[in-house]
């Protein structure tokens, strides 16, 4: 297969963000769109994530992105005309408080979410127990619940965007590595890969864990770093848990997928880097936490564990932006663990930015220049 040597846009990264950007641009009528992925689609953070869809955030920006993304996911199977199943399940996220500070923070979160039209409720212990009867009530003090949060299969959801984009004429090169970006007079000119060079006036950095390195190729310093977060999956069993259960203070998220397996993870503070190893330390801590918070889950057998990269931004909110220093260079990165669930808005907002359209929501809190010479006051705290 010979590679095409010209494009209107080259998107780097075949995860959910890259696919959603390609789909939105193609839907708006853009031609000659190319997506380059160094492995197979979803090989990076998308395919390693916890498969959750949540709208319960502590910052306005994350709430809005998530709410509008859920609205898309509710009609995604039809809009993308997918022949497989994206396995969308809306049975909520139950976020439990185990400390007084957490309980107070949750009051603020619920107020913010309700003001933005997100139907979260604050629950006392008894109401929380009705939703997940085997919660350890000795440690849970209260909870919040949003019934429209839920689960999506990251592989098939990405496949759905990919196939819809392909039908609209997007060209894809997988197992193709970007080695350089040619910039002349502060303008993007071409993307160099191990299979050939593609001339293009627009490059989109959707490289997930490797976003900083792609930025460097274009002379753009992006203040993000990557960090390994681990996760495990159990054997599939009969349905027993509707919502995802999260505790920030206990450092755990745990849900049962529609397929029956339980997925759970935690965020131990690892040094920045690209390792995605599986450790026994994670396994020990995960087993202790889950058997404490959700005792019956201890009876399930772990069948696999793995790691994946969170691409962390300074305020733990995404960077969806152009770059002042390099014309034609755009980025969707720094999702801090939540790129999968926000992808519909990532795709929409970046396509509007690239085509010079009116943005669907204010962009100042998403742009790269929000970090310039300013202290961070708007930090997202609701991260596992």
């Amino acid at each position: 297969m010979t590679m095409r040597n010209k494009a209107n846009v080259v998107i780097i990264g075949g995860g959910i963000s890259g696919m959603a950007i390609a789909y939105n641009l193609a839907k708006k009528g853009m031609k000659d769109i190319v997506v380059v992925e160094k492995e197979y689609y979803t090989a990076g953070a998308t395919g390693r994530c916890g498969a959750g869809i949540r709208q319960q955030w502590a910052t306005k920006m994350n709430c809005l992105l998530a709410k509008k993304s859920v609205a898309f996911f509710e009609k995604a199977q039809e809009e993308l005309a997918y022949d497989g199943d994206i396995e969308f399940k809306q049975e909520g996220y139950l976020i439990v408080a185990t400390t007084k500070e957490e309980d107070e923070q949750f009051d603020k979160n619920v107020k913010l979410q309700n003001e933005l039209g997100i139907p979260t409720q604050k629950l006392d212990k008894e109401a929380a127990r009705k939703i997940v009867p085997y919660l350890n009530m000795d440690i849970v003090t209260s909870a919040t619940f949003c019934p429209t949060d839920g689960h999506l299969n990251p592989f098939t959801t990405t496949d759905a965007f990919y196939k819809a984009a392909e039908k609209l004429g997007v060209t894809f090169y997988k197992f193709t590595t970007v080695t350089d970006i040619v910039v002349e007079h502060d303008e993007v000119k071409a993307v160099v890969t191990d299979k050939g060079t593609i001339e293009t006036p627009v490059v989109v950095n959707a490289a997930g864990g490797y976003a900083k390195d792609i930025g460097k190729m274009a002379g753009v310093d992006i203040p993000v770093y990557s960090q390994n977060r681990e996760i495990l999956v159990t054997e599939p069993i009969e349905r027993m848990q509707g919502p995802m259960v999260i505790s920030f203070s206990k450092n755990i998220y745990c849900q049962q997928t529609p397929h029956g397996a339980f997925i759970m993870g935690r965020g131990d503070n690892r040094p920045p880097g690209y390792a995605m190893d599986s450790t026994w330390e994670f396994l020990d801590e995960m087993a202790k936490t889950v058997t404490e918070l959700l005792p019956p889950i201890g009876e399930l057998r772990v069948i696999r564990q793995w790691g994946g990269l969170y691409n962390m931004s300074p305020d733990h909110q995404p960077i969806i932006s152009d770059a002042k220093e390099t014309k034609g260079f755009y980025m969707a990165c720094g999702f801090s663990g939540h790129g999968f669930m926000l992808a519909p808005m990532t795709g929409l907002l970046l396509s509007e930015m690239i085509l010079g359209e009116e943005p669907s929501m204010p962009l100042e809190d998403l742009k790269l220049d929000r970090f310039e010479g300013k202290d961070i006051t708007n930090m997202e705290k609701s991260v596992v």
Partner: protein
Amino acid sequence: MDPKNVIICRCSDVTLQDLYELFDQGYETFEELKRIKRVGMGPCQANTCGKMVQWEIAKYFNKPLEEVKFQNMRPFTLGVKLKSIKEAADDDEE
């Protein structure tokens, strides 16, 4: 034999026909098949279907078997209860 009736992955109920359809869609590696159809993702972790999947990829794309990559091997080899892991971790701390 009808490929619809040939079960390749018994944990995730994947037939030979399912594999052929994925091959025709351009999914040619074990890692891709696994992600779309859960081949090798069940309790046996490809200990049963792994070799067969490699064979089918080799035959379909006319490649030598040794050039067909297996899936990335991850822990565990055998399912272990979370409770047992917790108990072992507690023992280590005593």
